[in-house]
Symmetry: C2
Subunit: 309 residues, 2 copies
């Protein structure tokens, strides 16, 4: 195989109560990366589309190529590749845009080299793309983009992560409003200390979310979708957040919170029909204050990156 | 039925990473309460054994009778009962001694009155015994003593709790050293603030513990038995804690931490034989510094209170 086109999915990190430890993949949107073998050992970004010219062609700084360079260096492989990145999702949206690119690129190269590593082993390299994009190597977007499904990062040191069951009828409505939130800012405004009471409440919801997902208890999932630590702070950066959240719940969502660092907002619903109704109701709240938005409705993506063509 | 004898089990609260939200019941030890109907409407504690004279006969302050009084008042029932409490477990041990008494008493009365409430509905009354014993109405001992099994308290306000699956071959070794720790002191030395990093690490372990128990993944259970928040502080009150913990792990325990507020220390093991070996190794560390201890080895009690005779 000389060339491969790979899709990697967008992801919702944090998932209400699980700051830095929960993430899930959706079917749509996502990024496409086309990787082609070269005769020399150069890594060259030939083309980037869909980014409005915002992304760099510098392979030491681009989120697609940094993981590939780390991967090749780790395996001591000298091989060149041409890269085309088709951004099919908004940048800085809280949907794991950089992770989708990182995962698609390193997954594609691993395929072209006949899989010297298995998929899970690609995680540390894909995380290096996250370090470039947001200043620290978080795994809560990268891991679900790579593995699909709902992923728990139990520990960062040593890295310990695993995928859990999710109910088949669980749907995600994601609304991405056309406002800008810088991921680095969204992290800097967080406090360094959490009250013991909030910590206990949050742990209760983390436990409830995990038990609810594995045992397919939709009510318990919904009751556990309360974030005492991050949402009260980050929601300040998102206009209409509480109106959108209320509209989601009033229209039948199990729960609703910020996707990653925002500004995207996600809701869980039981069934696609409810998820679509919820998404439209969320968009309507943004429209009221003249904010345009995109809506994505999806089940939980179980497969992670996908080879296209 | 005029009289009933009820056993309620000891419990391990917190279970390493789940401060105030996790608790589990064991088969042994536990408390026995004998309740007999009276002809009048008085509640009378006739006898208390096994407490070295430490417990009060004042029905407004005893952990058996306070829940019964709240229960009768709530249901507007005027009925008298004679109470005999046989303490079959150490007081102030971190094993939910007061909870076992509270649960046994209110469960017995509910039985004698032909079960006007179901078992779960008894929880708020049993929690009142905890308020008397340690100053606040925590549920992490009371709930597993009442329901059996491993219980998660997702939320205290509103009260939301549920039982999760545990692997059949999971055994608990509990070592109770003959040293005194006051539960109120053990709570007062805790800090009111937790660092964000510790909160995230703890949430990861909470998620890992729940997933590990439900999916019967013993390794994951073991890896999740790390407490970044409470154990580093409370362990100071327990002589030999780290030696005991290390001995447990070196002898095959999945993990080891403080039971409730201590001074009892518990370990999880896969299989009864390992749990017994682990327990003896833990005791040996106390013996080295001339501290006597009791050892209890048990599977997870799945049934809660039990009617005897």
């Amino acid at each position: 195989m000389e060339s491969i086109k790979v899709f990697a999915p967008a992801t919702v990190a944090n998932v209400a109560c699980g700051f830095d430890i929960f993430g899930l993949a959706v079917d749509n949107p996502g990024d496409e990366v086309i990787v082609t073998k070269r005769q020399d050992d150069q890594i060259v970004i030939q083309q980037i589309t869909g980014d409005d010219g915002k992304l760099t062609f510098d392979i030491q700084k681009n989120t697609v190529t940094v993981p590939i360079l780390k991967y090749l260096s780790h395996l001591d492989i000298k091989h060149g590749f041409d890269i085309i990145l088709n951004k099919k999702m908004p940048l800085g949206s809280g949907l794991g845009s950089s992770s989708a690119s990182s995962v698609a690129g390193v997954f594609a190269v691993n395929q072209l080299l006949n899989k010297p590593l298995n998929t899970e082993e690609l995680l540390p390299f894909a995380m290096e793309g996250e370090r470039i994009a947001c200043g620290s190597a978080h795994a809560d977007n990268v891991a679900p983009a790579l593995l699909g499904g709902f992923v728990i990062i139990r520990s960062y040191s040593p890295l310990d992560f695993f995928k859990i069951n999710t109910p088949a009828d669980l749907y995600v409505s994601i609304v991405h409003p056309d406002v800008e939130v810088n991921t680095k800012d969204a992290r800097h405004i967080l406090k360094n200390e959490v009250s013991m009471n909030k910590t206990i409440s949050q742990m209760g919801n983390v436990a409830g979310m995990v038990a609810g997902l594995i045992s397919e208890n939709y009510d318990l999932i919904g009751r556990s979708m309360v974030d005492y630590i991050i949402e009260p702070i980050r929601s300040i950066l998102i206009p209409q957040f509480f109106e959108v959240q209320m509209a989601a719940k009033e229209n039948g969502a199990l729960g609703c919170s910020i996707s990653g660092a925002g500004p995207s907002i996600f809701a869980f619903s039981r069934g696609k029909e409810t998820a679509e109704k919820v998404g439209l109701a969320m968009q309507k709240e943004f429209t009221k204050v003249n904010i345009q938005s995109n809506l994505f409705v999806s089940s939980i993506n179980q497969s992670g990156p996908k080879i296209l063509d």
